[in-house]
């Protein structure tokens, strides 16, 4: 090796010139049944990531049947007009494909990851399960029981209990207060007719989008193959229900759930932001500084300074309407109330002082310079495009992404902190050994003791 040039270790090495980022430009065409297809060729690996986006989610669940959207999606592979549940399972597994579902309040995304060599079979399978599921009563009854088991098992996990209860404490009876999968009382009432009805109203090609990323043929050839597979699927869906804006929290809601254990699971949250709100970009920068990054204020404070936790973070889940904002952590039970105080203190500080230059730079850089990393794998690319589709973002969204964040100022950050980080209008849930922290937590306001189901209880 050549002799080493002298190296100045005292400073971080200078970055090279920014690499050219080639954003995945998708091609768009429409099948004769109205299904929109977006494709990106990405052929370095012999794989395809397919995502079918239906612009209907759990928000369309009838209140008494909450969980319908999720169970409908789960029932797709439990038998079709042509095949039994066992036959569908065998077909899917022989192809080696991975079928997965993402049902949230805003949308239903049915995904299939497969190797190029089985592409034709994968298209046929996806079309068959989406267009012609059987909704056999016995299979649906089994799926319902499995979902009930899943709900029951979740109550063994303090982190899940804490998140569920925070949703209720924050949103009350608004559908955003419940997870997309429903609760025991509503899931219990779901049968095959409910799913079949939901399917016939919303699983329609018109308005739906199929995203294909990876080693796929050129559009002409692809279009012919997709016409073959999806051609018999027809119809228009019902119009989407207008989503109501959640009601603001008027005063602090404080819940404690007794749970024996060495730690407390803490959630503190409020009503956050809608995806298309103009403050979305400033809010993401504010959140990065407050609790989104490892080097955020709350993580530096609670983990790196105090050692109270393995980690604490905050997040805005932006939906069609204002979705949740929340801080989540698990702390040594002995410091449960202290940790809540510290989080509230950091919320205050975020509102009272604008962020420093370094904080702003870190947050904006972390969000914008990571762009090349966001489009590395086929699953990432199809996932980003799905996000564009669900929220109706423009085709050139990723081209404008960097500028949208670069335009955010420290004053914007302080302003949105004022808008969202109001601890007086927030919900706080602590799941842990209540006796140890009850008195101290009551300093923050009237404390309600709830059981793991969220029902009023005695400590």
């Amino acid at each position: 090796m050549a002799p080493r040039a002298s190296l100045d270790r005292s400073k971080r090495p200078k970055a090279g010139p920014l690499p050219k980022i080639v954003l995945p430009a998708f091609k768009r065409f429409r099948l004769s049944n109205g299904l929109t297809v977006l494709t990106v060729r990405h052929d370095d690996m012999p794989e395809v990531s397919a995502r079918l986006v239906l612009p209907f989610g759990a928000y369309e669940d009838a209140r008494q049947h909450a969980g319908t959207g999720l169970l409908t999606a789960r029932a797709l592979t439990e038998g079709t007009a042509e095949r039994s549940a066992g036959e569908v399972a065998e077909w899917l597994d022989y192809l080696g494909a991975r079928f997965s579902l993402d049902v949230d309040h805003d949308a239903t995304v049915v995904s299939l990851h497969f190797l190029t060599q089985v592409m034709d079979g994968a298209f046929d399978l996806l079309a068959e399960v989406v267009a012609r599921p059987a909704f056999d009563a016995a299979e649906v009854g089994r799926l319902r029981d499995e979902r009930l088991d899943e709900i029951a098992s979740g109550l063994d996990e303090p982190r899940i209990v804490a998140s569920l209860r925070l949703g209720e404490a924050t949103f009350g009876s608004h559908p955003y207060g419940m997870r997309a999968g429903g609760v025991e009382e509503t899931v219990r009432e779901i049968d095959a007719d409910v799913l079949s009805d939901f399917h016939s109203r919303f699983y329609r090609p018109s308005g739906a989008t199929l995203i294909l990323v990876g080693d796929v043929p050129e559009p002409d050839e692809l279009e012919a193959r997709l016409e073959d597979a999806f051609g018999t699927w027809h119809g228009d869906p019902d119009p989407a229900t207008e989503v109501e804006e959640p009601e603001a929290i008027e005063e602090r809601r404080l819940w404690a759930v007794p749970w024996p254990g060495p730690q407390s699971e803490i959630r503190l949250g409020g009503i956050g932001i809608a995806r298309l709100d103009p403050d979305y970009y400033a809010t993401l920068i504010m959140n990065a500084i407050f609790g989104g990054l490892f080097s955020s204020r709350i993580n530096m404070n609670l983990r790196e300074d105090k050692g109270w936790t393995y980690g604490v973070s905050s997040r805005f889940d932006a939906r069609r309407r204002s979705g949740p904002f929340f801080v989540a952590t698990a702390v040594d039970a002995a410091v449960s109330a202290d940790a809540v105080d510290e989080i509230i203190g950091e919320m205050q500080r975020m509102k009272s002082e604008p962020p420093g230059d370094e904080e702003m730079e870190l947050a904006v850089n972390a969000v914008t310079l990571s762009l090349p990393r966001l489009f590395e794998t086929v699953d990432q690319v199809s996932g980003r495009i799905a996000h564009q589709v669900v929220y109706g973002l423009p085709d050139d969204y990723w081209e404008t992404y960097v500028d949208r964040f670069r335009a955010v100022t420290a004053a914007d950050v302080q302003r949105v902190a004022g808008r969202f980080l109001d601890s007086d209008r927030s919900a706080v849930v602590v799941v842990g050994p209540v006796e140890g922290f009850r008195a101290q937590l009551e300093d923050l306001g009237p404390l309600q003791i709830r059981d793991i189901h969220g029902r009023p209880a005695d400590a």
Partner: protein, 430 residues
């Protein structure tokens, strides 16, 4: 154009004078690069009374070095648009960043500084802080999670006292409490040397530049005295070990552990594909039987862990309401008998191979997990190019190979069985 889901990576390798092995995999698909350094030290190298130390040490590596301020590591990488982490396993510890390709030197500077200039930056305060963080990690991820103590219990059952795999990587609380600054220094000097590490650079860079930069940043770090290697010996055939513990849960869960082929050893891929045939997908043997047909389990999974020495596998199933652990166990054992008897069809085997192949392709799509596989092959087997053999090895698995691995390994003589039962159902509930 690749055929039949087979993927091949061109790897280029050169060692620095100080013994650091540098492996470059060029891939300009995306303007990103992965910097991945793997040290051949893990929980199996820990001495008695210091369980959890390799992992605690990993945390300290993020607390700054001579030229890198405390807490700057995460900040600098995220400021560059990158992502980073570290992880500790039985046999190795790794540290990795994925960065925009123009920031590769940042990754190399940070990694080389904490290898070459670590000791002057470490303080009692940092040790105490990260000890608290790790103790909270143990509470959060193990103690306060349902069934969270299963793996450490089963390791204790399956490996004799003093065996390198007898204890979990997270360690025990009292050992974490006992760790001192002297331990930190001694561990660092023993194991954190360039000749005990592999550096993988994957992504948008040319190999020559990769070597040049690796030499520039790591070249002046002296070779170590030679890190002692701990080999975990294969556990001889014995009789099945059984235990029941109680937890704050509603549903019984069964863990069936088997000593199994290690990563890179004959039978590893057959065991891996067998796990797929048993529990990956709704047509898989155990899922279909326990969850779909008999409806006795909420979930069932089979997996084999990629360890360096003696391998290990788990079959885990959670009972549905009203079902007892022994019902689950009997159903699983019946299925294993069936498999050992040679009932896996060719089509089932092909499906298992197809799923395992697809998973490999998916895992190697990103430079981060690809680097991990390359570094693991280099560290455990001394052959980074083994990563390319994974595809043909998986695709060569037949039903006969699975029957053979089941007959050799999935037998009572290599088994440990753990029941985790609701506290309310046992002594603890009284």
């Amino acid at each position: 154009m690749p055929e039949k889901g087979v993927v091949h990576f061109e790897l280029q390798e050169r060692s620095l004078d100080n013994g650091l092995r540098v492996i470059v995999q060029e891939d300009d698909t995306a303007p990103v690069v992965s910097v991945h350094i793997m040290y051949h030290v893990g929980s199996k190298h820990e001495r008695r009374g210091r369980t959890g130390f390799a992992h605690l040490f990993e945390h300290l590596m993020f607390q700054g070095s001579e030229h890198v301020p405390n807490e700057a590591h995460f900040r600098l990488i995220q400021d560059a648009g990158g992502t980073l982490n570290g992880s500790t396993w039985f046999d190795r510890t790794n540290y990795f960043e994925t960065l925009p390709s123009n920031e590769i030197e940042l990754g190399l500077w940070l990694e080389s500084d904490r290898l070459g200039w670590f000791e002057s930056a470490i303080t009692q305060e940092k040790l105490d802080n990260q000890r608290d963080v790790v103790k909270n990690e143990r509470r959060q991820s193990y103690e306060n999670r349902p069934y969270g103590l299963a793996v450490e219990t089963i390791l204790r059952m399956a490996y004799p006292e003093g065996h390198p795999y007898h204890h979990p990587t997270i360690g025990y609380m009292e050992d974490l409490d006992a760790a001192s600054l002297d331990d930190v220094r001694e561990f660092f000097r023993t194991f954190y040397t360039p000749d005990n590490a592999v550096l993988v650079l994957a992504g948008a860079l040319e190999a020559e530049r990769g070597y040049e930069l690796a030499d520039r940043y790591f070249g002046e770090i002296p070779r170590g005295p030679g890190a002692p290697q701990a080999t975990a010996p294969t556990v001889p055939l014995g009789s099945e070990v059984r235990e029941t513990i109680y937890d704050n849960v509603q549903f019984p869960r069964v863990y069936i552990f088997h000593h199994s082929p290690a990563f890179g050893q004959p039978g590893f891929e057959a065991a891996d594909v067998l796990c797929s045939v048993l529990s990956d997908g709704k047509s898989s043997r155990l899922y279909r039987k326990l969850v779909y047909e008999d409806r006795i389990a909420q979930d069932v999974s089979a997996q084999v862990w990629p360890t360096e020495d003696c391998g290990l596998s788990f079959i885990v199933a959670t009972a549905r309401p009203g079902i007892e652990a022994k019902t689950l166990e009997s159903a699983i054992l019946e299925m294993l008998d069936d498999v050992r008897g040679g009932t896996i069809t060719q089509r089932e085997a092909e499906g298992g191979v197809n799923r395992a192949t697809r998973e490999l392709v998916n895992a190697f799509d990103g430079v981060g997990s690809r680097s991990d596989a390359i570094a693991t092959s280099a560290t455990f087997l001394g052959r980074p190019e083994y990563v390319n053999e994974l595809f043909p090895r998986v695709q060569a698995v037949t039903s006969e190979a699975m029957v053979q691995v089941a007959n050799e390994w999935l037998v009572p003589e290599r088994r440990a069985t753990l029941y985790i039962l609701p506290e309310s159902s046992g002594e603890a509930g009284k």
